[in-house]
């Protein structure tokens, strides 16, 4: 081979051998995701994280699960029967929860994931344009407050049980996570301290969002009403009747009194937007919802043509709670119920795959908004709080109760006692996730439903078996945590 020919080849070789050998070749930026902390450098970035937190809070693990579905299963004395095959929910119904179950951890993880986003938002408020700063802070504090409330009421002993300043609550994280240090291995803060943080967040939120007082204001996110309504719930669990009645009264006045109630009980449910009665909803639509096959309230509650797993079957002792003519106790029989819109009553005979069972109409549309707090509940809170407090803040308890009864088409009462309030709350609020709090406040026993080894056993209102375990994964990772009594 001639020399010049070889040298020509060598140039070719050198070209081939060193393509891409510079270091920049290895700089590959992600397309799907934004990298690093630059997220919080701008006004838009902080708001994006806030809206991200709303998305996380709306998931099936939180306001379309934990706060509604788990609460009612844990408190279920056999009014409904869980017939699905998801073991986690059966364990809740049988009060035999297992710290290894996936949803025990996924709920906990999702709540803290959301809280970290909110902590970042609150830490970077100075990046937010001044005119949006108060609302941003108000929304973030509201979400953080209600998330801690969901955590504490499920994973810790009730505030009213024993000494809340000694009982372990949940880890209280109020600052953003940077690197992982020893400080991140937090113990459980006392129930009292977590409550103090919740009340602080919600009160400040109420003040910061004072400009929003109508149903669905501020884009259907947080308003002064939503903060006050949650405060009312929180005070009720603390048995601080006076404050609960005041907060409830604040909401009822802002919403326009009894007139804001929908005309029928059925009208409050399966709506795509706020109705006049809704104090706080989780917004959903076709592209953003809690699920329609394995998750989401309708998935478990509905038994419609092609939709719903028909997992939660209504039992006779639930129906027995209703008086003759109570709109809330009626059963629709629509042989070809294609969607929930075909059903006008609060219960129906299910169709579809597991037909002929009695189902609740409250959750029948996977992409409808989720009712978190309705005016009816707030009225019932005011009634109960006033009754227990011996006060008439805003209205007399009997008037409040009768307003709810009138909407359900049942006769007004002329006198009132605590058991009557308990029953009225059950009739109005069933399957909306309030039962566990009511049991704790009215100190009712819970009976293990049929089908389990200890069926018929009565558990007192504060039985540790009705508190969720700290997730096993969390126990394994963080040795500073203590497990709840029933799971030691």
């Amino acid at each position: 081979m001639k020399t010049n020919k070889i040298s020509k080849y060598f140039i070719f070789i050198l070209l081939a051998a060193f393509i891409g050998s510079c270091d920049d070749f290895l700089d590959v930026e992600p397309e799907l995701a934004v990298s690093d902390d630059a997220v919080y450098d701008t006004h838009e970035g902080v708001l994006n994280a806030l809206y991200g937190a709303w998305d996380r809070a709306a998931g099936p693990q939180l306001f379309a699960g934990l706060s509604v579905f788990y609460s009612d299963l844990v408190a279920n004395s056999g009014q409904v029967r869980w017939t699905g095959t998801f073991l986690s929910y059966e364990l809740m119904e049988s009060k035999n929860m297992n710290p290894n179950e996936g949803i025990i951890a996924s709920t906990w993880n999702r709540a803290y994931w959301t809280i970290d986003l909110l902590n970042n938002v609150l830490d970077n408020l100075d990046r937010v344009n001044e005119n949006a700063r108060a609302v941003t802070e108000g929304e973030a504090r509201f979400l953080r407050g209600i998330l801690y409330f969901e955590l504490i009421r499920h994973y810790a002993r009730p505030y009213s049980d024993g000494d809340p300043s000694n009982n372990p609550g949940v880890p209280l994280v109020l600052t953003p996570t940077a690197g992982i240090t020893d400080e991140d291995y937090r113990p459980r803060e006392s129930v009292a301290n977590v409550y103090a943080s919740i009340i602080d967040d919600l009160e400040r939120s109420k003040a910061l969002l004072a400009g929003f007082t109508t149903a669905g204001a501020n884009g259907g996110r947080a308003t002064a009403n939503t903060a006050a309504a949650f405060l009312a719930r929180v005070y009720m669990t603390q048995r601080n009747w006076e404050s609960a009645a005041r907060e409830a009264d604040f909401v009822i006045e802002n919403m326009g009194g009894y007139g804001a109630l929908n005309n029928t009980p059925r009208a409050a449910f399966n709506n795509d937007t706020y109705t006049s009665e809704d104090v706080f909803m989780i917004n959903q639509n076709a592209t953003s919802h809690a699920g329609q096959a394995n998750d989401g309230l309708g998935t478990f509650f509905a038994s419609l043509d092609g939709y719903g797993r028909s997992d939660v079957h209504i039992q006779q002792n639930h129906l027995d709670m209703f008086e003759e003519g109570d709109l809330r106790g009626m059963i629709d029989t629509v042989p070809d119920a294609i969607t929930i819109a075909d059903i006008n009553k609060m219960h129906y005979i299910g169709v579809g795959r597991k037909p002929n069972n009695i189902m609740s109409s409250k959750w029948g549309k996977y992409d409808a908004n989720i009712n978190v707090i309705r005016l009816a509940e707030v009225i019932l809170i005011r009634a109960e709080a006033n009754f227990r407090n011996g006060s008439t803040i805003g209205a007399a308890p009997l008037d409040d109760i009768n307003a709810i009864r009138a909407r359900a088409d049942v006769a007004a009462w002329t006198d009132l006692n605590l058991d009557m309030i308990w029953e009225e709350r059950y009739r109005e609020m069933c399957f909306e996730g309030r039962l566990i709090e009511d049991i704790r406040r009215f100190e009712k026993d819970v009976i293990i439903p049929a089908g389990y080894t200890d069926s018929g056993t009565a558990l007192p209102w504060n039985d540790p078996r009705m508190i969720l375990p700290i997730p096993q994964r969390e126990m394994d990772v963080n040795s500073n945590l203590v497990q709840n009594e029933a799971y030691l």
């Binding site: 080849y9 070789i13 081939a16 051998a17 393509i19 891409g20 050998s21 270091d23 070749f25 290895l26 590959v28 992600p30 397309e31 799907l32 995701a33 934004v34 990298s35 690093d36 994006n48 994280a49 809206y51 991200g52 937190a53 998305d55 709306a58 364990l91 297992n98 290894n100 179950e101 951890a105 993880n109 803290y112 994931w113 959301t114 970290d116 880890p171 994280v173 996570t177 690197g179 992982i180 991140d184 917004n283 959903q284 592209t287 953003s288 419609l304 043509d305 092609g306 939709y307 579809g352 795959r353 597991k354 037909p355 389990y452 080894t453 997730p471 994964r473 394994d476 990772v477 963080n478």
Partner: protein, 1012 residues
């Protein structure tokens, strides 16, 4: 050994060669086994470089000294020495090489002779996989290569296969080997949607295009692939043309398959019997009314014409509805040949398979061109080009109610069709899988192009530069429709479309230098560089609101429910070098090193260096062993080296945010916390081995002992989720694998009747030696764990203590010590109750031939691995629910006081008696399987030659004909990969999971193979 003989030949030649006068010798070389002529045989005058090659017809002609000796050599044949002794016609018959010690073995960036290897490499030849009927070839490696453990995902077609070479070396990064096809690392990751089991990009390679597969197991062999070699490397070489006339090969097969095993479920009579027993147990005889109980649970359980006769009525065998007789057909044609300058291999193939699972079909059509051309005396250029289209008509994943195997959960009392309307029965306890089968579809179509172009330049004597530019292009479209009246698609239909484009560019450049110094010092040097860039783009959308099940594409939908598009990428840049040295034909030394940079790590930790060293000693080439008639070959060898692993997420070192959607309000959510110090995971492997041949290589074998220690594990470390994150990737922890591998090949009879055997067995002991106190779990329920001092993925849950023989209650151990029991599962202590890793595995194969007949069989076996039979939780639950139960349950449940043989507790209708997650459902999945049985007949030459054929072979081949196991589920060889790529942490840990997992097929194939 002929090598040493040739050394003497040199001396011989030096002494006498120069004095001789030349004569002309001609002749024909044939294959002794079938009498066929052999083109391309090298004919060399011993001790010289003078030689020739046989022509198309196997003829040669050469001028030699009358006292010279001719050497006839051909790949795969024993080299034969024939003294000329003055003859002018010498016809020679070559016999296949028994021991294949002179076999050429493909190593990274080059080839070596087998006897020169100092590393541990297993090879599989084309004929072992030629008749393979599965879409991808990997399952053919199990039982044929010591140390390679394969578990098929499920019996569904075209799914990813879990492959472990010498155990798992990582927890969070992939444990799958690197696959290199014709020099190019290829895409093997799941390209399918996350809503189904992972698809296998290797199914795009036609197994019949494969010439050889080499498995690089130890560090010395694999370290040339550096950072990507910690899990071993599988090198696939496709067929190439040889100089000679055009040879056509036509091969066609037709096969029939059925499930390798059926579990067996209760029929009507048995189910009603169980229902009655469970009802009486629960409610007491006096309160029990069988018929009204059944009326309450099953609206259609009575015969509509004879409602009072409970013996009549539906008796559906749902298992038979889910499993069917499958089939396959396959047609391949190839042409290969060439001139001295240009050689080619062309192939066209078509395969069409119906799985044993209803609704699952796979077909593939493709072609290949492999071309080599010598442009000048110095320059060779060539290309490989492979274009395939494969289509996989899939069913839903194992966890979905709609997947066919889940139909086995339906009781026999429920009819498939509504007795009144004749429509499919929609009123079953779970979704009737026949409904989605009829009204849904999920079609995956892949276009795949593996290709590369190379040039090779002879710069100086012995010095070659080779440059290969490769492209691996994968284009995939998934189209899914879920019918209006299906569970998942209701109420108005759901459509899903997804497109994926994966492009991998690869550039390899290297110099090879071969030289012999002073006759006795052989040097082979490789120095080069490699760059790889992978870009993967996805786009998908889902839609609802279809007017009818006839309109299944998104265009007909009224509402787009989501749309998404994204991409991901990674790059590698590498430099490598290797020196193979051989002294006096018996002392072998190999040194190699590779420096790799990866885009996946932070700027300061991108580069890693992976060296290796190995030595070997061919003892039998020493003078003192020359005359040993027992030991014909002996080579101890030792290797040490580092390999790396970077198979984690493309951006694992970054703190990432991704988009979110709160009812139309877009935002950002955090998905990971930064880990800027993240670097390579490193595996140090030491291997001591010996290759031996006894009795003139009638018995050959290999013994290897290895220790693989992985440090700086790329670990998804668990952190308190109160931080907002559950894990962060860190380099934490150590893991080790230690093991033995034995391979024994024997030529038992070597006459007209030939009988060869191969036995291989591998023992691997995996242990996580340090995890910094971390406990990592997988699965739901999370019973698979990684804990210090234990093998990866041990099973950790409540331990079942059996049935109380007096009460029929399920008992569980209350405490860790196991000395107290409880009937309440939630009180039971969690303990280590199983290990999904096998203790040993291997294969035993035999080949017989006599005249034109050949018979071969191969058993594969796995011992000591536990499987969690998750479906048993419902199908052996004592009618906790209405699910149909297995015969295994029916024959083993507690029948009454004193029944102390029962495995399962007393059935109690709608009541839990030990229902839940426990070791009750963990079973030993050891098995021995007659994987492959082939019987063939090659027509006599004189007959086929009349039809101008070279050879005609007909055969019948059976896969999975027999399985011996105590495992009560479908198939001990499968393990559901869930819906994640098999290289992900969840699949590393969650091994041995059977959740309505479809069995492998048992296949009988009839085939015809023509050469002309």
């Amino acid at each position: 050994m002929k090598k040493k003989l040739s050394f003497f030949g040199v001396l011989l030649f030096l002494t006498f060669g120069v004095l001789a006068q030349e004569i002309r010798v001609t002749g024909t070389v044939v294959d002794e086994t079938d009498g066929g002529t052999l083109p391309g045989v090298t004919v060399l005058v011993k001790g010289t470089t003078i030689g020739t090659v046989t022509d198309f017809e196997g003829n040669y002609s050469i001028n030699v000294a009358p006292d010279a000796t001719l050497l006839f050599s051909f790949i795969g044949m024993t080299t034969r020495e024939v003294p000329v002794e003055g003859r002018s016609i010498i016809n020679v018959a070559l016999v296949p090489d028994l021991a294949l010690l002179d076999e050429v073995v493909v190593v990274g960036y080059g080839t070596r002779l087998k006897y020169e290897l100092t590393g541990s490499i297993s090879s599989v030849r084309a004929e072992d996989i030629a008749g393979h009927t599965m879409p991808s070839f990997e399952t053919a490696l199990h039982g044929r290569t010591a140390g390679v453990h394969i578990s098929a995902g499920t019996g569904k077609l075209g799914q990813q296969v879990r492959t472990r070479i010498r155990g798992a070396s990582s927890i969070s990064a992939s444990n799958q080997p690197l696959y290199v096809i014709d020099g190019i690392p290829v895409q093997t990751q799941n390209m399918g949607t996350t809503g189904n089991e992972p698809t296998n990009p290797l199914a795009d390679l036609n197994p019949r295009d494969i010439e050889s597969i080499e498995v690089l197991k130890d560090a010395s062999a694999a370290a040339i692939y550096g950072s990507r070699a910690a899990n071993g490397v599988i090198i696939i070489t496709t067929k190439r043309g040889k100089e000679g006339k055009t040879r056509f090969n036509v091969s066609t097969q037709i096969g029939f398959s059925e499930a390798a095993n059926k579990v067996g479920f209760l029929d009507r009579e048995q189910y009603i019997d169980l229902w009655n027993i469970a009802g009486i147990n629960r409610y007491g005889e006096e309160n029990w009314d069988l018929e009204s109980s059944l009326d309450g649970s099953f609206p259609n359980w009575r015969d509509i014409n004879n409602p009072d006769n409970i013996a009549l009525g539906p008796n559906t065998n749902w298992e038979d509805e889910a499993l069917r007789r499958g089939g396959s057909q396959q047609f391949d044609i190839s042409a290969s040949g060439g001139t001295k300058e240009t050689q080619y291999f062309l192939s066209l193939s078509f395969t069409d398979q119906d799985a044993i699972i209803v609704g699952n079909t796979f077909d593939r059509i493709g072609g290949r061109i492999n071309l080599d051309h010598q442009a000048t005396s110095a320059l060779t250029i060539g290309m490989n080009m492979n274009l395939n289209r494969s289509r996989n008509f899939r069913v839903s994943h194992d966890r979905a109610f709609s997947t066919p195997i889940q139909m086995t959960a339906l009781p026999p009392l429920e009819p498939t069709h509504d007795p009144v309307t004749g429509e499919l029965n929609a009123n079953t306890i779970y979704e009737n899988g026949l409904i989605p089968l009829k009204y849904s579809n999920f079609d995956t179509e892949v276009f795949r192009n593996f290709g590369n172009v190379y040039f090779s330049l002879n710069l100086l004597p012995g010095l070659t530069f080779r440059s290969e530019a490769g492209l691996d292009l994968l284009n995939q479209q998934e189209v899914q429709y879920l019918g209006r009246n299906t569970n998942d698609g209701g109420p108005d239909g759901y459509g899903f479309e997804r497109n994926v484009k994966s492009v991998i560019y690869n550039l390899e450049n290297y110099f090879t230098y071969d030289a012999v110094f002073a006759d006795n010092y052989d040097l082979n040097l490789v120095v080069g560089s490699s760059f790889q860039q992978a870009d993967i783009q996805f786009a998908s959308m889902g839609a609802t609101g279809f007017p009818s099940d006839e309109f299944r594409r998104v265009a007909s939908a009224s509402e787009i429910s989501f749309a998404s598009a994204s991409g991901t990428a990674y790059r590698y840049t590498s430099f490598f070098a290797r020196a193979n040295m051989k002294f006096f034909d018996r002392y072998l030394v190999t040194l190699s090193g590779r420096s790799d940079g990866s885009s996946r790590f932070g700027r300061d930790n991108r580069y890693g260096f992976f060296p290796s060293a190995s030595v070997g000693w061919v003892v039998t080439n020493e003078d003192f062993m020359m005359d040993d008639y027992v030991i014909s070959f002996l080579k101890p060898r030792f290797s040490w080296g580092l390999t790396g692993n970077s198979e984690i997420g493309n951006y694992a070192s970054r703190g990432l945010y991704m988009g979110s959607n709160y009812a139309g309000l877009s935002g950002l959510i955090s998905t990971s916390i930064p880990s800027p110090d993240l670097k390579w995971e490193t595996t140090t492997q030491t291997n001591i081995g010996v290759d031996f041949g006894l009795l003139n290589d009638r018995i050959t074998g290999e013994i290897d002992y290895y220790v693989k220690k992985t440090e700086d594990l790329l670990l998804s470390t668990q952190i308190p989720s109160s931080t907002g994150f559950t894990s962060v990737f860190k380099n934490v922890g150590n893991m080790e694998n230690k093991g033995w591998e034995f391979t024994l090949n024997t030529v038992n009879v070597d006459r007209a009747f030939r009988w060869n055997s191969n036995f291989n067995i591998a023992f691997n002991n995996n242990k996580v030696t340090n995890l910094d106190g971390q406990i990592i779990t997988a699965g739901n329920p999370a019973i698979w764990r990684v804990v210090e001092g234990q093998p990866i993925g041990i099973l950790y849950t409540a331990e079942y203590a059996g049935v109380d023989p007096e009460t029929g209650n399920a008992l569980f151990y209350l405490n860790e010590e196991g000395d107290e029991t409880t009937t309440n599962l939630s009180d039971a202590a969690n303990r280590i109750v199983g290990d999904p890793n096998p203790d040993f595995w291997g294969g035993f194969s035999n080949n017989f031939s006599y005249k034109g007949f050949d018979l071969s069989f191969m058993f594969q076996f796995v011992y000591g691995n536990d499987m969690y039979l998750h479906a048993n939780q419902w199908q052996a639950a004592g009618l906790r629910w209405e699910d149909n139960h297995t015969l295994h349950y029916y024959n083993n449940f507690w029948r009454g006081p004193g029944d102390d043989d029962a495995y399962y507790p007393e059935p109690r209708l709608y009541q839990s008696n030990g229902y839940g997650t426990s070791s009750m459902h963990i079973f030993d999945a050891s098995y021995i399987r007659l994987k492959d049985l082939t019987f063939g007949f090659t027509l006599p030459r004189n007959i086929v030659q009349r039809a101008n054929m070279e050879s005609v072979r007909i055969f019948v081949r059976a896969y999975n004909l027999l399985t011996f196991t105590d495992y009560p589920g479908y198939d001990p060889e499968t393990s559901s990969p869930n819906t994640a790529d098999v290289g992900t942490q969840s699949n590393n840990i969650q091994q041995g999971w059977d959740f309505f997992t479809a069995p492998q097929p048992r296949t009988i194939t009839f085939g015809l193979n023509l050469n002309f």
